[in-house]
Every structure is written in C-alpha cells, then in structure tokens.
C-alpha cells in the first residue's frame, strides 16, 4: 500500500506513575480498514485508543491523522470518535439528543440535525426510539445508540473499545455481523479493541496483537493464525501445541530440530540459526494421531483421554518426555483409542511453524 496512511503512530510511549503502559508503538492504519487491537487485559489496548482519541497524552511519540501531527490536539478538535466500553450514553438526554449531541456541538442547523438523527436511527434499526431515555433501552439497543452517536458525525476514524463486551454470546455474534456490515456501508475506518480472539479473527482486516505495551505481531487474521510470529502469538490465538526444541542443522528451506532426543524436520524461517532454542507450533486441529505406526519418524505417545465438545473432540496425548499435546478432530473422524494405549503422533510439515520462544519475561 503506497497511499498515505489515515492514521500513523510513531514511537508512542506512555508511562503511568508506577509502570509503563506503552513501550514504543509504531502503526499505520489505512482508509477503510478494520483493524483490531487484540491482547490480554492490561496490555495497553485501551491506553493506545485513548491516546488516538486525545483523552490521554503520550509520554513520547506522535500521532498523525492524514499526515497531520495531532498529538497535542484536544479530543474535540480531532476527526476521530470513540464508542466507549460502557457506552457512556448521557442519562439525562433522550436517544435522539444523545445521537444529535455531536452535531449540535458542531453548530449544524437544527433541521439538518433532526434529519441526520432520523437517518441514523433507521440505520441502526431503532426507528421510533428517539424519544426514549437510555435507561429504557436493552443492552443491545444502547450499544447501537452509542455507535449511532459517533457514526452520525462521519468521523474519519471510529474507535471502539470492546463494544460488545457486555452483551451475551448470541447477541454478540449478531452484533459482530451488524457492525461489520455497518462499517462497510458507512465506509468508516475502524480501530476495534477486543480480548476475544474469535471476534478479532471474524471481523478484522488486520489484527495487531499486543502484549505489555508492544505489538507482538501485526498481520491479517489468516497469517496470524497460520504463521504466528512468536510462541505468545501462537498460544493467544487458537489451540496450539508448542514443542520446545533446538536447531541441529539447516539444509536449504528445511531445518532439523531436536525435540528432547527426537529429530523432527520443519520449514525454516529467515531468523533461524543453528544451535538456536525455539518452539515448533502445531495447531491442535493439524495434529493427527493413530494407533498404528505408519513409519519410524513419528513421535510416540500415550493416549490419555479426550473430551467431547459437540462438533469436535479434543484428545490429550502424553509424549515420552512428559509433554502433553492436544489433537482436535471432528467427531465423525473419531478413532476408538482406549486410554493408556500407545499412539503415533504426526503432522504435515507445511502446517507447523517455527516461532521465537517469548513466553517467559518480556
């Protein structure tokens, strides 16, 4: 992408009295994108969002909107709006007044405010709710008012801080689809915060995975899942088996790993050097096991048991070195292995990726 990014963060740092919240963030967000900040609580997602909104001042670094440095602009002067986690609807105003608030602050003529509020109510399927108070709405409806209140201003960038966090699972799924649809209809760039990996994978164009105030990986959902950059990225998203090992040799695209005495081949990465300690990541659904032994190179383990989860079943297998592996497969493909039996474990070399081990310390 050669166009100028809509939003750029450069060397963003934030220190609070007792700890560092952000440790130097660089990010480019492009027009029309749906970017998700994903990470465990306390990783700095919300702080990042608040700095972009202007509600927090960074200790160092700059924020650029369409190439303009807006780091020191107050929130009301930024073409950026926020949907707050608890919605923050004004309890003393009607739904229509809430949605029209920003337009009135912008001194838009009353007639136009009325019309745009009506259009917005229609868009979020809340026609006829304009005269109600926020306290008379359900959680899902409040959520939609909060989005309408920001979207009516047609911001260049809409920031959403876990907007679906307070909803139950079913409503959440439904709202995910609605939000995505709305984003495409309005053509507004979204920066979306969640700690729900499934939500992130479903909705985003790109995901920025965060940990301790840094980006661990910034990539498409597909690449993040298929090619995690580090052990943290691999374990945070999806069910993953991490096999610790040491590089014994590199030959072309392939590398030989020593996993506790067992030699295993893998596709190399450009940062891999001989003798290095690293992890091999194999997704649970890509790990296969069978009672029969196809060839001698497979790993042997003991079948511990499996648990049923409707459409699929996850089996636990213990390797000779004591490490347990998970293997997920659909219930149709089930193999009747009894606990305690010796099984053979294998995977397709292309589906396993080498990752840096960053699980301890940061």
């Amino acid at each position: 992408m050669s166009e100028t990014p809509l939003l750029s963060l450069r060397g963003l740092r934030k220190s609070f009295a007792t700890q560092d919240a952000l440790n130097g963030l660089d990010l480019d967000v492009y027009k029309g994108e749906f970017l998700t900040l994903l990470g465990p609580s306390g990783c700095g997602k919300t702080t990042t969002l608040r700095i972009i909104a202007g509600l927090e001042t960074p200790t160092a670094g700059e924020v650029y909107l369409e190439g303009q440095n807006i780091t020191s602009l107050p929130p009301e002067k930024r073409a950026v709006n926020t949907v707050f986690q608890n919605y923050a609807l004004f309890p003393h105003m009607t739904v229509a007044s809430n949605i029209g608030y920003g337009l009135c602050m912008r001194k838009v003529p009353k007639e136009e405010v009325k019309e745009r509020v009506e259009n917005m109510l229609h868009l979020v399927q809340l026609e006829g709710y304009g005269k109600r108070m926020p306290s008379q709405l359900s959680g899902g409806q409040r959520q939609r008012v909060a989005i309408a209140r920001s979207a009516v201003l047609e911001p260049k960038l809409l920031l959403l801080d876990e907007p679906l966090g307070a909803l139950d699972l079913q409503l959440r799924r439904q709202m995910q689809a609605e939000l995505k649809k709305m984003q495409q209809q309005l053509g507004i760039t979204f920066i979306y915060i969640t700690h729900d990996q499934e939500e992130a994978l479903n909705m985003s164009d790109r995901i920025a995975l965060m940990r301790s105030g840094r980006f661990v990986q910034l990539d498409t959902p597909h690449n993040l899942y298929e090619h995690p950059a580090t052990a943290f990225a691999a374990t945070f998203i999806g069910e993953t088996n991490l096999l610790e090992g040491r590089v014994t040799g590199i030959k072309g695209d392939d590398v030989m790993l020593d996993l506790d005495g067992i030699s295993v081949p893998a596709r190399t990465q450009d940062w891999v050097v001989p003798g290095q300690k690293l992890c091999l990541c194999v997704r649970a659904e890509r790990l296969h096991y069978a009672r029969k032994v196809p060839d001698s190179t497979c790993l042997q383990g003991t079948f511990i048991g499996s648990h049923y989860a409707g459409s699929d079943r996850t089996a636990t297998i213990e390797l000779r070195n004591g490490q347990t592996l998970l293997s997920r497969h659909t219930t149709e493909q089930e193999e009747s292995v009894q606990p305690g039996e010796t099984v053979c474990v294998w995977w397709d070399m292309e589906t396993a990726s080498l990752v840096r081990d960053d699980r301890e310390g940061v």
Binding site: P75, E76, N81, A88, A96, Y101, C104
Partner: protein, 283 residues
C-alpha cells in the same frame, strides 16, 4: 414473613410517636394558636378569627418578608457560586487532600454557631481586627462601618450556610461517571460546553438539594441578623423572635411561623416537582 413485618413496624413505632408528638401535634398547636388573639401576659384567648392574618398586609411585614427572601436568595446564590467550584475541587482532588478539606469544612460545627457569629461580630467592630488591618495597610483612613449592615449579615449567613451547599454537591460530583464527560469532549464539546451540558445536569440533584438546604434555613435564621445586623435588619425570623419574647404576642408569632412554613413548604413542593424530569435539551 408476617412476624418480620410486624417487627419492622414495631421498630418504627418510637420514631412515629416522636414525629406525631413533636411535629404533628406542635404544628396543629401553632396553626390553632395563630387563630387566637393575645391575652394577659403569656396567654392567648378566643374567639377564633383570621384577624392575625389580616395584619400581615401592613408594610412592615411585607418589607421584612421581601428583605428575608432577598437575603436568603443572595446567600443561596453566593453559596452556589462559591460552593460549587469548591465542592468540585474536593471531589476531584487526591483522596488525602480530600479528607483534610472535608474535615476543615465540618470542623466549625464542633463549636457552637452562636459563638462563631460572635467571633464575626468582633472581627467587624469599628476598632476590630479587620478595620485595624485595613488602616495599617493604608487602604482606608477612617474605620469602615462594617457591623450592623446588610453586608455583615450576608457574610455571616453565607459563612453559616455554605457547608450545607458544599456537602450535597460534593457527593454528587464524586459520583459522576467521568467517561460521560470524556464522551462529550470526544463528540466535539469544549471543556466549558462539556461542563455545562454534562457535568452540571448530572450534578443537578446535588445542586438542587444544596439550594434547598441553604435557602430554607436562611429565611428563618434570626440570631445572625440579630448579632450582625442589629435593629437595622429585621428578617422574618427576627419578627417571630420579637413578637414572642418582646411583645409576648404568641398568637401573632404563630401566624408569622405559619407563613414561613407555607413558604418553605412551597419551595419543597417545587423541588419535588423538578426532581428527575427528563428533558430534550437540543431540539
């Protein structure tokens, strides 16, 4: 269930009796008394009539009522503009500072109010500390007449009433969800606009409570105007005081009290009406 309900009712009995005896009965007594006329000494006599109420039309009483309302109104207004920022500051400051400020606010109550007003009186004397200071600083040549003016009464009243305004406002500012204010800034409101359209409405219950708590007692106060205003400032409370203790006209004192009761009742009624009304602020 039944026994629990009975027990609750039983527990409320002393309070109900207290209210009936000391509030309900005394009210009836005062209203009844206001319909009688003055007898020999500290007595009252029939027949029942509205003569006392007819006396209220005299300019003395109209003037006093207007003065009382004006001073109470001014006191309340000054409390609003001085007290709101102070309450806001207490609620927003660090917890340790906040504790100290609250203690300072309540500390004067540890001393009798009458003594504290005497303190102000000494401060305001022609040769008192305030005049001495102003003259030493060369700001004035001759002592100012501070005592026995409307101004001195007003200072005393604001001094006495301001904690009653600050405390309810403080508690409502403290309970504000500040993300609301952030949301309004985010939607394009300047700090002042955000304060006026979000902070003020959200603290309105505390503010109205504070206004009522300052205005109502201000109308009835008599010792502050007595000590700091002398005979120049005849507030409604002073009238009642004089009728009762100087003229020994209990029925007319009762009549004046009934007027005060009606006035404060009206204000409380207005307050109830205003409470929690939804409004469409913009269009």
């Amino acid at each position: 269930m039944q026994s629990e309900k009975n027990r609750t009712q039983l527990a409320a009995l002393p309070m109900s009796l207290w209210a009936l005896l000391f509030v309900g009965m005394s009210l009836l007594y005062i209203i009844g008394l206001s319909l009688l006329s003055r007898g020999e000494g500290f007595t009252s006599q029939g027949p029942l009539s509205l003569d006392n109420y007819a006396r209220l039309g005299s300019p003395v009483y109209v003037k006093s009522l207007l003065l009382s309302m004006r001073l109470a109104g001014l006191t309340t207004l000054i409390c609003l503009f001085m007290g709101y920022p102070f309450a806001y500051f207490i609620a927003k400051t660090r917890p340790r500072v906040r504790t100290w400020l609250l203690i300072l606010l309540i500390a004067p109550f540890w001393t009798n109010a009458l003594i504290r007003i005497y303190g102000w009186k000494i401060l305001f004397y022609a040769n008192g500390p305030l005049n001495t200071l102003l003259m030493r600083l060369g700001l004035i040549q001759r002592p100012l007449k501070l005592l026995y003016t409307e101004m001195s009464v007003l200072v005393g009243m604001v001094y006495a009433m301001i904690p009653f305004f600050v405390l309810p406002v403080y508690s409502s500012v403290e309970r504000i969800d500040w993300t609301m204010v952030e949301a309004s800034r985010d939607l394009g409101a300047s700090p002042l606009k955000a304060f006026l359209t979000v902070t003020v409405p959200m603290t309105a219950p505390g503010m109205v409570a504070g206004l009522v708590l300052t205005f109502i007692p201000s109308i009835g106060l008599f010792f502050i105007s007595d000590l700091l205003g002398g005979s120049n400032t005849m507030l409604w409370g002073n009238l009642i005081h004089n009728e009762l203790l100087k003229s020994h006209d209990m029925p007319f004192a009762a009549t004046l009290s009934v007027v005060l009761l009606l006035l404060t009742g009206l204000i409380i009624l207005l307050y109830r009406r205003m409470g929690g009304k939804a409004e469409n602020m913009f269009f």
